[in-house]
C-alpha cells in the first residue's frame, strides 16, 4: 500500500469510528516502517479534525465523537511504544491533569472532555471522580502540567473549584498552571469570579479553549 493510501484509510477509519481498523492500520504502518510522526500528522490528526468539523456542522453527535476519540486512543496505544522505542518525541499540544472535584462522583462530562483533549493531541492524566484537591496540584507538579481541569456537576461541589484555586494561591503556585473549570453549574462568570483561566461549555469547546490558551 502506498503511504498516501494508508493515510487516507487511517483518516477514514477515524472518521467512521472503526476501532479495530484504526489499530490494524497503525500496526501496518509500524511494519512498513513508515515515519510514525508522519502517520500521526497526516492520517490520524486529519481524521479527528474532520470529526470535529462534522460535529460543528451538526452531522455528528456525541456517540460518533466519543467513538472516534476512542479509536484515536486505541491507535495511539499501538504507536506510542514504537515511538518510545525509537526515542521519538511526539509534539504534545499540552499536558492536562483532569478530574471531578472531591465530593462529586459525576464523571460523564469530565470523561468527554478528557477523551476529546486526548484525541486532539493533549497529554491527559485523568484522576477520575471525587478527587482530593491536593491531588490535582500534586499531580500537576509531578507531571509539569500545563492545565488543571476541574469538573463539578453540583452547586455544592463546584465550591471545590474555588477552593482548588485558593489552594494554589496558598502554595504560591497560582499562575503556574492554567486552571479550566466545567460542569453544569459552572459558567464564564464563575470562572472569572474564582480566578480560573477559562470555562468551556462542552468538550469540543474545551479543546478549542485549551488550544487557544496554548497559543496554538
Amino acid at each position: 500500500m502506498k503511504k498516501e493510501e494508508l493515510f487516507a484509510r487511517i483518516e477514514k477509519a477515524i472518521i467512521e469510528g472503526r476501532k479495530s481498523e484504526a489499530e490494524d492500520l497503525a500496526r501496518e504502518a509500524v511494519k512498513a516502517k513508515i515515519d510514525l510522526t508522519e502517520v500521526i500528522e497526516k492520517g490520524y490528526v486529519p481524521g479527528i479534525q474532520k470529526v470535529g468539523d462534522l460535529w460543528e456542522k451538526g452531522d455528528y453527535f456525541l456517540p460518533e465523537l466519543i467513538t472516534s476519540a476512542e479509536c484515536m486512543k486505541a491507535a495511539m496505544a499501538v504507536l506510542q511504544p514504537e515511538l518510545d522505542k525509537a526515542n521519538i518525541k511526539t509534539k504534545t499540544k499540552g499536558k492536562v491533569v483532569i478530574g471531578t472535584v472531591e465530593g462529586d462522583i459525576h464523571d460523564i462530562g469530565k470523561n468527554l472532555v478528557a477523551s476529546m483533549l486526548s484525541a486532539n493531541g493533549f497529554d491527559v492524566v485523568d484522576l477520575g471522580a471525587d478527587v482530593k484537591l491536593e491531588k490535582f496540584i500534586e499531580k500537576a507538579e509531578e507531571t509539569k502540567a500545563d492545565f488543571i481541569c476541574l469538573s463539578a456537576l453540583l452547586t455544592t461541589t463546584m465550591l471545590g473549584q474555588k477552593k482548588a484555586i485558593e489552594l494554589l494561591r496558598q502554595k504560591n503556585l497560582y499562575g503556574k498552571f492554567k486552571v479550566l473549570v466545567g460542569g453544569a453549574p459552572a459558567n464564564q462568570k464563575w470562572a472569572e469570579e474564582i480566578g480560573a483561566d477559562g470555562y468551556a461549555e462542552n468538550a469540543m469547546l474545551a479543546v478549542k479553549l485549551a488550544k487557544r490558551l496554548m497559543g496554538a
Binding site: 453527535f61 456517540p63 462522583i105 460523564i108 462530562g109 468527554l112 455544592t156 465550591l159 462542552n202
Partner: protein, 488 residues
C-alpha cells in the same frame, strides 16, 4: 347512573412489563449491584445474599426481593402539619409538588436566573401553601445565604414554619437526617407520633448505572426506621448512564429501584417506599438531560406502570420544563408532563415551577403550573353522566327561545363541569389589548404578588416554632456556623 371512566394511559403490555422485571432480576443476581454502605451490606449479608466486600457488589436473589415486595405497603398515608388532613399516596391518586432543590430562581424583574436567598425561600413556601392544585410542598430552593452543611435542614425549617402541606425533601449529608427528622418530630410532638402520621417524604437517588451511594442508602435506612416514606429516584440518562433504548433504561431503572425496596424492607419490614425516578433522555448533541423531552416522559410513564404492577406507590419528575423562561416551551413541556403523569396515575408528581433541567424555580411558573395541574385533575376526573336522564327532561317543552344560561341545571353544574382559569388568557382580542397585551409571565407575576399580599402566612404555633428554631440553630452551631440570616 353509568360509572365515570378514569382515563388511563399505559404504554407497556403485561408481557413486556414481566420481561423487563425478569431481566432486572437477572442483572441483580448475575451482575449484582454496588451498595456503598456498610450497614446495608450487612443487612444483605444477613439475608443470605452474596456480598463482595472489597467491591461493595451485592448479588441480589429474586426470592429475597420478592419477599421484600410483599411487606412494602401498596398505599401510604401522609398527613399535613396539623395532622388532620390525610393524603393517600397509592392507587391512581395524583398529588403534585413543586420540583425540588432548585439552585437558582428566575427573577421576574430582571428575567435572569440568580441564586436564591432566605427571602425567596419564604415567598416560595408561602406561595406553595396557597396553591390548591399543588398538594405537597417540597424543599424547593437551596438558599445561598447559608453555608452548605446546613443547606438541607434550612429549607425544611422554612417549609414547616410557613406551610401546612406535607413535604417532599431529602438529605445532602448523612448527618442531616437526624436533625431533619427532629424538626418533623417537633411538629408532631414525638418520634412515634411522626411515624404514625408521616409529614414528609425523603428522596433517595441511586447513582446510575447500578449503584447506591453511602449517603442515599443511609437515607433509605434512616427513613425506614423513622417510619418515613422514601422515594426511590433512579435516574438513568439514555445512552450516557443507562442503555440508549427506552426499554433498556427501564430494565436498569427497575433493577436499581428493586434494590432500594429491598434495602428499605431489610432495614424495617413494612416501611413505606415509593417507586419513583428522574430518568431522562440524554441529548446526544449537547450532553444535557431534557426533562421536557417526550421520551423522558415515556420512560416515566413506563416505569410508573411497572411500579403499579409491583403494587407500590409511584412518583415521577414531570410537569417541568427545560426552557429558561416562562415561554411557550415552558408551557408546552409542563402541560404535556402534567397531563401524561396524571393519566398514568403517578401518585406523586414533582415538577411544577421548575425550569432549566430541574435547576431553576420560578414563582411565576409555579402559579401557571398550578393552573395546568388543575386542568390535569379535571381531565382525570373524566366525563360524568351527572343526571338521569342526561338531557331529555331538560329539553321538555324546547323552543328556539329556551335559555340555557338561566336553567337551574346550568347553575347546579357549571362550576363542577368547567374550570375558570385566572392566568390563562381567555379575553377577547380587544380586552387583551386594553389590558396592556401582557405576556403570561407578567400576569403570573401580578398573581404571585396578589397571593402573597392577601394571604397571611400559615405560621406554625409559636412554641413549635421556638422548638424548630432551637433545633436549627443547635445544628448550625454544631457545624461551626455561629450565625444564621435573620429569621423572618
Amino acid at each position: 347512573m353509568i360509572k365515570t371512566i378514569r382515563p388511563k394511559l399505559e404504554l407497556l403490555s403485561r408481557r413486556f412489563i414481566e420481561k423487563i422485571i425478569d431481566e432486572a432480576y437477572e442483572i441483580l443476581d448475575k451482575q449484582g449491584i454496588f451498595v456503598e454502605n456498610k450497614e446495608a451490606l450487612k443487612l444483605f449479608s444477613q439475608a443470605g445474599m452474596k456480598v463482595e466486600k472489597k467491591t461493595h457488589r451485592v448479588h441480589l436473589k429474586r426470592r429475597l426481593v420478592e419477599k421484600c415486595l410483599t411487606t412494602a405497603p401498596a398505599v401510604i398515608k401522609l398527613y399535613d402539619r396539623t395532622g388532620e388532613r390525610e393524603y393517600t399516596v397509592g392507587g391512581d391518586e395524583v398529588h403534585f409538588d413543586p420540583g425540588s432543590a432548585a439552585v437558582t430562581i428566575l427573577d421576574h424583574k430582571t428575567g435572569e436566573e440568580r441564586k436564591p436567598e432566605t427571602k425567596d425561600l419564604v415567598d416560595y413556601c408561602r406561595l406553595t401553601e396557597c396553591l390548591d392544585n399543588i398538594h405537597f410542598q417540597s424543599t424547593g430552593l437551596i438558599s445561598s445565604d447559608v453555608p452548605h452543611p446546613i443547606a438541607d435542614i434550612y429549607r425544611l425549617y422554612f417549609g414547616l414554619v410557613f406551610s401546612r402541606k406535607p413535604v417532599v425533601t431529602g438529605t445532602f449529608r448523612v448527618e442531616s437526617f437526624r436533625p431533619m427528622k427532629d424538626l418533623l418530630a417537633a411538629v408532631r410532638g414525638g418520634d412515634k407520633e411522626l411515624a404514625a402520621k408521616p409529614l414528609a417524604i425523603f428522596d433517595a437517588c441511586p447513582s446510575p448505572p447500578l449503584k447506591w451511594s453511602n449517603l442515599t442508602t443511609q437515607s433509605l435506612i434512616d427513613a425506614a426506621r423513622a417510619g418515613l416514606p422514601s422515594e426511590l429516584i433512579s435516574m438513568g440518562m439514555t445512552g450516557a448512564t443507562s442503555l440508549v433504548t427506552i426499554s433498556g433504561t427501564l430494565v436498569q431503572h427497575v433493577a436499581e429501584n428493586l434494590c432500594g425496596v429491598a434495602i428499605v424492607q431489610l432495614a424495617k419490614k413494612g416501611a413505606p417506599v415509593i417507586f419513583g425516578g428522574s430518568p431522562s433522555s440524554f441529548d446526544m448533541r449537547r450532553g444535557t438531560t431534557p426533562m421536557g423531552a417526550i421520551e423522558t416522559m415515556m420512560i416515566d410513564v413506563g416505569y410508573a406502570q411497572i411500579g403499579k404492577y409491583l403494587n407500590l406507590p409511584t412518583h415521577a419528575y414531570m410537569g417541568l420544563s427545560d426552557a429558561k423562561t416562562n415561554d411557550a416551551q415552558a408551557g408546552l413541556e409542563t402541560g404535556l408532563g402534567a397531563v401524561l403523569g396524571a393519566l398514568a396515575g403517578v401518585n406523586v408528581i414533582s415538577g411544577p415551577g421548575m425550569l432549566d433541567f430541574e435547576s431553576c424555580q420560578s414563582l411565576e411558573k409555579l402559579v401557571i403550573d398550578d393552573e395546568i395541574c388543575g386542568m390535569a385533575y379535571r381531565l382525570i376526573s373524566g366525563i360524568a353522566q351527572r343526571e338521569d336522564p342526561i338531557a331529555t327532561d331538560k329539553f321538555e317543552g324546547f323552543t328556539p327561545e329556551t335559555q340555557f344560561l338561566s336553567m337551574p341545571h346550568t347553575k347546579k353544574w357549571y362550576r363542577l363541569e368547567h374550570s375558570y382559569p385566572v392566568i390563562a388568557d381567555r379575553d377577547t382580542y380587544d380586552a387583551w389589548v386594553a389590558l396592556g397585551k401582557k405576556p403570561i409571565a407578567d400576569r403570573a407575576s401580578e398573581h404571585v404578588e396578589k397571593i402573597l399580599r392577601s394571604n397571611p402566612p400559615a405560621l406554625v404555633e409559636k412554641d413549635v416554632r421556638n422548638e424548630l428554631t432551637r433545633i436549627l440553630t443547635a445544628y448550625a452551631k454544631a457545624n461551626g456556623i455561629a450565625s444564621l440570616p435573620a429569621l423572618p
